[in-house]
């Protein structure tokens, strides 16, 4: 088990380097000249070629590619992602708090999704084909076809405006968590619960269930085995749910004015603030890879067959 963990970590390192390289390259493909963006943001009235060249030198953009990449990488490792072109503030000072806010929203949502999907998935698998199952599946189907911003708008209109129970936006009290978490949870739980359900159903048809019944084992013991096997598949997906939701809260944050990564990234894109976009992509990609590794390790811990293949 320890060896597997080590191997897995070692494999991620070249991947992380490659990803950082790709992120850096990505920014170089822009049709816009970053020096011009900076000058425009600074409100310079006339952008002459000399000014552009001067800004370029200031920003260190006249150095060769590899040097720039290594410089950037080294400073990233020290959490120095440069300065925003638009506001001039350090990127990390903007990204850091936003990341924490989004993380809070994500973790609460993932917990809710986990509980809801596993509960619904197991119940529906056991009642497969009967009315409970059909009802839950119909409702989840409908909710999954609803765009999250529409769902958010409806919930806001009903709970925040008509009933005035919850705040419409912002991140003040624990009450302000309810609606954004609800929207995120409903959106994802609909998908995940079906996965849990099909995993449990698939396991219920396996030969070992029949043999266990033939040996006279009580149903609840058999169910424990089934759930344990089903969770293998689902563990991987739930682990990956964290970075996926981390990157996917853009719309929800926008609707609820949640001061997180989503709102920040949209602002950055609108104003073509490259260092910010670059840092955002890098941070999320790293989070993705890290969680991928964790999920692989977890899967191997649960399924001994996987430890032997790498």
């Amino acid at each position: 088990m320890g060896r597997y963990l080590l191997k897995r970590l070692l494999i991620s390192i070249p991947l992380l380097v490659l990803v950082s390289f790709c992120t850096f390259c990505l920014m170089q493909f822009s049709p816009l000249d970053p020096a011009e963006v900076v000058l425009q943001a600074q409100g310079v009235p006339q952008i002459t070629p000399e000014l552009v060249a001067q800004t370029k030198a200031e920003l260190g953009m006249d150095k060769p590619f590899i040097v720039r990449y290594l410089d950037w990488l080294l400073s990233c490792l020290q959490l120095d992602f440069g300065h925003s072109y638009v506001t001039g503030k350090s990127v990390w000072s903007l990204l850091g708090p936003a990341f924490v806010n989004t993380l809070k929203l994500t973790l609460v949502s993932v917990a809710a999704i986990l509980v809801l999907s596993v509960a619904l998935g197991v119940i529906c698998a056991l009642q497969a084909g009967k009315r409970t199952d059909q009802a839950v599946r119909a409702v989840s189907f409908l909710l999954a076809s609803l765009p999250p911003y529409l769902l958010a708008a409806i919930l806001v209109w009903y709970f925040a405006v008509k009933l005035d129970w919850l705040p419409t936006s912002g991140m003040d009290s624990y009450k302000s968590y309810l609606l954004p978490v609800a929207v995120t949870t409903i959106g994802y739980a609909g998908i995940y619960f079906r996965m849990v359900r099909s995993a449990v159903l698939g396991n219920l048809h396996e030969e070992y269930v029949r043999y266990s019944r033939a040996c006279g084992l009580p149903e609840r013991k058999i169910m424990l085995h089934v759930i344990r096997n089903s969770l293998q598949v689902t563990t991987a997906v739930f682990c990956m749910a964290i970075p996926v939701i981390l990157g996917g809260t853009v719309v929800v944050e926008n609707v609820f004015a949640w001061p997180g990564l989503g709102t920040l990234s949209v602002k950055a894109i609108m104003s073509r603030d490259f260092p910010l976009i670059q840092a955002y992509v890098l941070v999320l990609a790293v989070a993705f890879i890290l969680f991928n590794t964790v999920s692989d390790v977890l899967q191997a811990a649960l399924n001994p067959k996987l430890r032997e293949e790498l």
């Binding site: 396996e206 029949r210 043999y211 649960l302 001994p304």
Partner: protein
């Protein structure tokens, strides 16, 4: 004295209304071995699962299945569960898939025995170890700590037989236990099954499409084709003086295959004729 009496067993698919087994009747006498032979799809496995009431929920059955006088089809699920394992044991075809892949085999064995008997953990382990050694499994404790994918098909079959030894049921249903094995492992498993019968005096239903194995182990034979029983009788009669055309066809095809084998081996008498 018949341990099991099956009368007019019908199995049909409730979804398509297709009849899968049409009114089969047979008996298994105490201490004897009934072999059910036939091609794939003839309903052999369905019959076995029907006896244990383990068919998929889409399949329905009717008729009478009397086990030691009791009609199994009339029992509640709880009562049936108590009979499974303790009085009727099933040995399945594919050992690799019979055990939970995420647990070591020992877990299943301990759980099963603990469900039916009140023994302490140590006693269970002792009995299991003895049973596993008697089916020629070396290092039983090591084997109990292995995952199913780390063991061979033959070993897993023998583990199931060892479990049956400890449970000591009145009837053992072996559903094609040798089909997935190579010739050597199959031979060993058949030997173990015969020893099991001798030691516990239980009755056995042995399902197979390999007539060579059947000839070795069976007292009575039931021939099934496409869901119906075409012939039944004592083993030696079926093999030498079969009445139904299909049975004769089965016997002669098998004979043709093994004749060629004997020819190639230069007439040396190997495992069976």
């Amino acid at each position: 004295m018949a341990v099991l009496e099956v009368a007019d067993l019908q199995i049909w698919d409730s979804g398509t209304n297709q009849c899968l087994v049409a009114g089969s009747s047979f008996q298994v006498k105490a201490g004897s071995c009934l072999a059910i032979v036939g091609e794939s799809g003839s309903g052999k496995s369905l019959t076995c699962k029907a006896i244990m009431r383990l068919n998929d929920s889409g399949l329905r059955q009717s008729g009478e299945i009397r086990f030691k006088g009791e009609n199994l089809l009339a029992l509640s699920e709880k009562e049936m569960r108590q009979k499974r394992g303790k009085q009727i044991c099933l040995i399945v075809q594919n050992g690799m898939r019979a055990f939970d892949p995420s647990c070591v085999v020992g877990v299943h064995l301990l759980e099963t025995i603990a469900t039916h008997f009140d023994w302490g953990r140590d006693e269970i382990t002792t009995r299991l170890t003895a049973a596993m050694e008697s089916v020629m499994l070396r290092n039983p404790r090591e084997i109990m700590n292995k995952y199913p994918h780390q063991l061979s098909g033959g070993m897993l079959q023998r583990i199931m037989i060892a479990l049956a030894l400890v449970l000591a049921p009145d009837l053992i249903i072996a559903d094609e236990p040798t089909t997935a094995l190579d010739a050597v492992s199959a031979f060993e498993v058949v030997e173990q099954l015969m020893a099991l019968r001798q030691n516990t005096g239980c009755a056995m239903i042995f399902v197979s499409h390999d007539l060579g194995v059947v000839k070795k182990i069976a007292d009575e034979v039931l021939v099934m084709k496409e869901g119906a029983v075409v012939e039944s009788g004592a083993a030696h009669q079926i093999f030498s003086k079969a009445r139904h055309e299909y049975t004769r066809y089965l016997v002669s095809s098998k004979l043709a295959l093994s004749q060629r084998f004997s020819q190639v081996m230069g007439g040396v008498d190997v495992a069976e004729g």
